[in-house]
């Protein structure tokens, strides 16, 4: 009984595999909106991992910049998608990206000022040695 069905199942699986692979190849050949979102999400996750695991406060700042860039990538991708649908407000995403860059620049200036002041007082930039508020 199974002997009859096995080749049929095999063929079916092969067909399914081929179509899935074809789909994958199609996705690789023609990146679309979701690919851009995927890259943005990966950059965001790398940034979160950096913020949570590193000890050096400057590297943590850099990870925050990475997170903001991921958000920018998503904004630009959706802006481009809305342009392709012919929406009137399609460029709002790019305006948002400009404001994110402004806020990132302000944040970097203030944050690095704090790092310098902290280094002057505590002689360290490792986060686990800065425990003024511990108890």
């Amino acid at each position: 009984m199974f002997g009859i069905f096995a080749p049929a199942l095999f063929l079916l699986f092969q067909q399914a595999e081929r179509t899935r692979l074809g789909e994958m190849w199609e996705n690789i050949q023609h990146p679309n909106l979701s690919r851009f979102l995927f890259i943005g999400a990966l950059l965001f996750i790398i940034g979160v991992a950096g913020v949570l695991t590193r000890r050096n406060i400057i590297v943590i700042f850099m990870s925050i910049e990475l997170i903001m860039n991921a958000a920018n990538l998503n904004f630009i991708a959706f802006s481009r998608y809305l342009q392709s649908t012919g929406s009137a407000n399609a460029l709002a995403g790019q305006v948002f990206a400009v404001f994110i860059i402004v806020v990132a620049a302000a944040e970097a200036a203030i944050g690095l000022g704090i790092v310098i002041a902290l280094y002057r007082n505590k002689e360290t930039i490792l986060l686990d040695e800065i425990d003024l508020l511990k108890w």
């Binding site: 790398i46 990475l66 709002a92």
Partner: protein, 229 residues
């Protein structure tokens, strides 16, 4: 929005470059190396912006981030990182338990993203079936002036972007300028030395007395009020 041909080749090159450089930013032992890898991530992301037709944002990204913010980062690394370099600290990550917990959290984020792509693929698929980028570009470029070579057209992305920014975002634009002013003043105030603070008489008297006991040099610059006079 579907890329094709060379656009997709460049998309994959810059996407993979951005992700690998991002990973190396987080994992590099030397802080200066991290900063350089972050610069290459930012440049790759700027290239992705260009692929999506946002030339102005790509330019701003390179000018502001790579030219401004990262130079600031490198200066601060130069000022601050000396001690850690000399001590040769072997630990660049937190304690193993903390690292494990945060990696589990990131794994959950990855799983959420993958399920989102799988389940949301039905919704996203309809979004993705828009026209290909090449046709779209040709259609939207019809009215634009030709460039010097005659094969390409001069983009008006920056012009549209400026119109959008000043028509609909003029109030946030002004608020952003105030934010930048506050950031400038704040960072100058934060980065002052105790000597500079003493020189402009900006310290509390008790703090000043303590500091003078530690550092007699300060009496030269500090404005000390005599108690009797």
């Amino acid at each position: 929005m579907i890329l094709s041909g060379w656009e997709s080749v460049f998309f994959w090159i810059f996407a993979i470059a951005a992700i690998f450089a991002g990973l190396l930013t987080v994992m590099a032992r030397n802080t200066v190396h991290s900063a350089l890898f972050l610069i290459s991530t930012l440049v790759s992301v700027a290239a992705l912006f260009i692929l999506q037709g946002a030339e102005f944002i790509a330019g701003v990204q390179i000018l502001v981030y790579v030219g401004g913010v990262m130079v600031l980062f490198l200066f601060v690394i130069m000022l601050v990182n000396v001690g850690a370099e000399e001590r040769g600290d072997p630990m660049i990550f937190n304690k193993p338990k903390q690292v494990a917990a945060s990696l589990i959290f990131c794994l959950l984020l990855v799983l959420g993203m993958l399920t989102g792509l799988q389940k949301g693929a039905i919704g996203l698929a309809s979004l993705n079936k828009s026209e290909s980028a090449v046709d779209l570009k040709a259609k939207s470029d019809e009215g634009l002036a030709k460039a010097a070579t005659g094969t390409t057209r001069i983009t008006n992305d920056t012009q549209q972007m400026g119109g959008m920014l000043y028509r609909y975002g003029s109030l946030p634009f002004e608020v952003a300028s105030i934010l930048l002013l506050v950031a400038i003043i704040g960072s100058v105030m934060l980065a002052r030395t105790i000597k500079q603070e003493a020189a402009v008489d900006d310290l509390a008297p008790e703090v000043l007395q303590e500091e003078i006991q530690r550092e007699p040099e300060l009496t030269k610059v500090a404005v000390i009020e005599e108690a009797g006079s």
